[in-house]
C-alpha cells in the first residue's frame, strides 16, 4: 500500500500501532472501572493480561507496517525500518514491564489498572517521539511520553521517596522540555519549516550553515535530549528519580524511556542536521566522554544497588553517545543493536533487584545479595548473566554491542572515544562484579531476607531475557542485519530527496520529490 498522506485515512493507517494502543488503553481504563465493586478495590489480574494482549496486537500492527510504502521521504509519519525496529523495542520493554511488575504492585498495594494504562500511553508517546519526522509532533510525543512517567514515578503515594523522586523528575523534565521547545521555535524560524528532511535541505541548500537561529536552536534541542537521555552535565535528576520510583517503574524508565529519547536523538540529528555535523559532532563527543567517566567513577562508590544501577544506566548512555557521535550507517546500526541489548539487560537486572528488594523495598543494599547465588540459583545465574553483559564480558550481548560501537568510533577516526570507552568499561567491571562476588562468595548475613519468591510470569521474563542476551552475544547476525536495515533507512532517506536543488533557485525536481512549498525570505 502506498502512503502519501492525501487523506485522513492514510494518517490512521500509517499510525496504526499507535492508534490501536491508544484505543486499547482507553478500553482498559473502562474495563478497570466497571469490574470493580468500589473504588478502593485492587484491579483484577485480568487487567495485566489485557495490557499484554494490547501490546501484542500493536506488535502485529507494527509488523504490518512493513507492507506500507511511503510516497516521499518527507512524510510527517516515518514508515521506515528505523521506526518499525524501535517500535518493536518499546513494545518489548512494555511486555517485560508488565511481566515483572504484577507481584510487586500487588505487594505494595498498588495494583491499579491506571498504572498499566499510563504505561501504554507512555509507549504511544515513545513511538511518536522516535517515529515521526516533524519537530512539532516529536515535541508532542516527548510530552506524551514524559507526563505519564512523572505520574508513574510518584505512583506510590504512601512513600515520601516516591513523591520526592517524582517532583525532582517533573521539575527537571519540564525544564528540559522547555529547552526543547525553544529550540524547535528557533529552528522553525531559521529553516522556515519543522519537517526534519526539509530542515536538512534548507541547511544544505540555502547556505543556512551559519544561520544563528538554526545553530542555537540545534544546541537547545541537544540540551533537551541531553536531559532526557541523562548525559552527564544534565544527569542530576536521574539517580534521585530512579531511586524514588517504584522499582519496576525504574526498570521501565531506565530501559525504554532512555531508548526512546536516544532513538529520537538519532533520528533528529541524523535526518535534520547532517550539514551541521561539525558543530554537534564535537558537542556529542564531549558529552560522551564526560558521561562515561563521571558515571562510572560515581558508580564505583555506590553501596545501594538501585542507585548503582541508575549510574550504570547513565554510563551506558555514554556508550550510546559514542555510537551517535560517529554518525555513520555502522554507528547507527551498532546504536540500534546496543539499544536492544541494553533494554534486555537493564530490565533484567532491575527485575532481579525488584525480587531481592522484597516488600517495601527494604533490601537494596549490596549486602542483601550475599549468598543469593546459593540460596536461589536461578536468580543468581540470570543476575550474573545480566551483570556480565552490562560490564561487557565476552560471549554476552553487551560485549558484542560494545565491539560494534568501538568499530564505528574507530572508523570515524575518533580513537580517543574508543580508548575512553574501553578504559571506563574496565572500571565498570569492578562495581558489576562486586555484586556477583557478593552473590556467590559471601555468606548470607544473619537475619537474611526470606527466600525470594518470584511469580512464574517474572521468572519466564527473566529467563527469556537472559537467554536472549547470551544468544545475541553468540549469534548477533540476525538482529544486526535488522539494525543495519533500520539504520540505512534513516541515513539514506534525505538523499532520495534530490539534494542540491532548491525551488528558490528554480530547481523543479526538488519541489516535485519533496513537496517543497516555496519559501518567502525571512524579515
Amino acid at each position: 500500500m502506498n502512503i502519501d498522506f492525501s487523506s485522513q485515512i492514510q494518517y490512521i493507517v500509517a499510525l496504526l500501532p499507535e492508534v490501536l494502543l491508544t484505543v486499547w488503553a482507553m478500553l482498559i481504563l473502562l474495563v478497570d472501572v466497571f469490574q470493580k465493586e468500589d473504588r478502593s478495590e485492587p484491579s483484577s489480574p485480568a487487567i495485566a493480561w489485557l495490557t499484554l494482549l494490547g501490546l501484542l496486537l500493536a506488535g502485529a500492527a507494527n509488523l504490518w507496517l512493513l507492507t506500507l510504502r511511503e510516497a516521499t521521504p518527507t512524510g510527517v509519519i516515518a514508515l521506515d525500518g528505523f521506526r518499525v525496529f524501535t517500535n518493536f523495542l518499546f513494545l518489548l520493554a512494555g511486555v517485560l514491564f508488565v511481566l515483572i511488575s504484577t507481584r510487586y504492585l500487588e505487594e505494595e498495594r498498588l495494583r491499579l489498572g491506571e498504572l498499566y494504562v499510563l504505561m501504554l500511553l507512555s509507549t504511544v508517546g515513545m513511538m511518536l517521539f522516535a517515529g515521526t519526522r516533524d519537530l512539532m509532533l516529536i515535541f508532542l510525543g516527548l510530552e506524551l511520553l514524559s507526563v505519564p512517567i512523572y505520574v508513574l514515578t510518584g505512583a506510590n503515594r504512601r512513600s515520601r521517596l516516591s513523591a520526592e523522586g517524582a517532583i525532582k523528575y517533573f521539575l527537571l523534565g519540564a525544564f528540559s522540555s522547555a529547552f526543547f521547545l525553544f529550540g524547535i521555535a528557533l529552528v522553525y524560524g531559521g529553516a522556515r519549516t519543522t519537517n526534519l528532511t526539509l530542515v536538512a535541505q534548507a541547511i544544505g541548500v540555502d547556505g543556512l550553515r551559519a544561520n544563528p537561529l538554526v545553530t542555537i536552536g540545534m544546541a537547545l534541542l541537544a540540551v533537551g535530549f541531553g536531559f532526557k537521555v541523562a548525559a552527564v552535565p544534565f544527569h542530576m535528576w536521574t539517580p534521585d528519580a530512579y531511586e524514588g520510583a517504584p522499582a519496576p517503574v525504574t526498570a521501565f524508565m531506565a530501559a525504554s524511556v532512555k531508548a526512546a529519547a536516544f532513538a529520537a536523538f538519532l533520528r533528529v540529528f541524523l535526518t535534520a542536521f547532517p550539514g551541521l555535523y561539525d558543530t554537534w559532532g564535537r558537542m556529542v563527543f564531549w558529552l560522551a566522554i564526560l558521561t562515561m567517566v563521571v558515571a562510572n567513577l560515581t558508580a564505583l562508590v555506590e553501596p545501594n544497588v538501585k542507585r548503582m544501577l541508575a549510574y550504570s544506566s547513565i554510563a551506558h548512555a555514554g556508550y550510546l553517545l559514542v555510537a551517535l557521535a560517529s554518525a555513520s550507517v555502522i554507528g547507527a546500526a551498532s546504536f540500534l543493536f546496543y539499544l536492544v541489548i541494553y533494554t534486555l539487560m537493564t530490565i533484567g537486572a532491575f527485575a532481579v533487584m525488584v525480587a531481592v528488594a522484597g516488600r517495601g523495598e527494604e533490601w537494596l543494599d549490596i549486602e542483601s545479595y550475599s549468598g543469593l547465588g546459593w540460596r536461589q540459583p536461578l536468580l543468581g545465574v540470570v543476575m550474573t548473566i545480566f551483570l556480565l553483559s552490562l560490564a561487557g564480558f565476552p560471549f554476552t550481548g553487551g560485549f558484542i554491542g560494545k565491539v560494534f560501537i568501538l568499530r564505528a568510533a574507530v572508523e570515524k577516526g575518533m580513537n580517543w572515544l574508543a580508548v575512553i570507552l574501553v578504559l571506563t568499561s574496565l572500571v565498570s567491571y569492578w562495581y558489576y562484579l562486586r555484586v556477583a562476588w557478593y552473590m556467590w562468595f559471601r555468606e548470607a548475613p544473619a537475619g537474611a531476607p526470606q527466600p525470594v519468591r518470584t511469580p512464574r510470569a517474572m521468572t519466564a521474563a527473566l529467563v527469556a531475557a537472559a537467554i536472549l542476551v547470551v544468544a545475541l552475544g553468540v549469534a548477533p547476525g540476525g538482529l544486526l542485519r535488522a539494525a543495519q536495515d533500520g539504520a540505512s533507512a534513516l541515513l539514506q532517506a534525505p538523499a532520495a530527496c534530490t539534494y542540491g536543488r532548491s525551488p528558490a533557485r528554480g530547481g523543479g525536481a526538488g519541489a516535485d520529490v519533496c513537496h517543497l512549498t516555496p519559501r518567502r525570505p525571512l524579515g
Binding site: A174, F179, L181
Partner: protein
C-alpha cells in the same frame, strides 16, 4: 520588529531559566518553567508572521501540553506537600539531589 520580538522571547526564556536555577519554591520553579514555554510561544507567533500560519497552530498545541503538564505537576506538588508540609525544595532531602 521580528528581531525585537525574538529578543524579547529570549529575555523571557532567560528569566525563566534563571528562576529555575536560583529559586527554591517548587511552585515558583514550576511558574518559571511555564514562563519558558510561553517565551517559546512568543517566538512561534513572531516567526509565524514571516514564515507561515503553522507557527500559530503550534502555539495551541503548546498551550494544551502546558495545561496537561500543569495538572500533573500540581498534583505531584500536592502529594509531596502531604508528606512534609512544605514545597521548599531544600527540604526534599531524603534523596541526595
Amino acid at each position: 520588529m521580528l528581531t525585537l520580538s525574538l529578543v524579547l522571547a529570549a529575555i523571557l526564556f532567560a528569566i525563566g531559566v534563571l528562576g529555575v536555577v536560583i529559586r527554591r519554591n517548587a511552585i515558583i520553579l514550576f511558574m518559571c518553567v511555564e514562563l519558558m514555554l510561553n517565551a517559546a510561544n512568543l517566538a512561534f507567533i513572531a516567526l509565524s508572521r514571516a514564515v507561515g500560519i503553522e507557527g500559530q497552530v503550534f502555539v495551541f498545541f503548546v498551550i494544551s501540553v502546558a495545561a496537561a503538564e500543569a495538572a500533573v505537576g500540581l498534583a505531584i506538588i500536592i502529594s509531596i506537600f502531604r508528606h512534609i508540609e512544605t514545597v521548599d525544595i531544600k527540604n526534599f532531602n531524603l534523596l541526595r539531589w
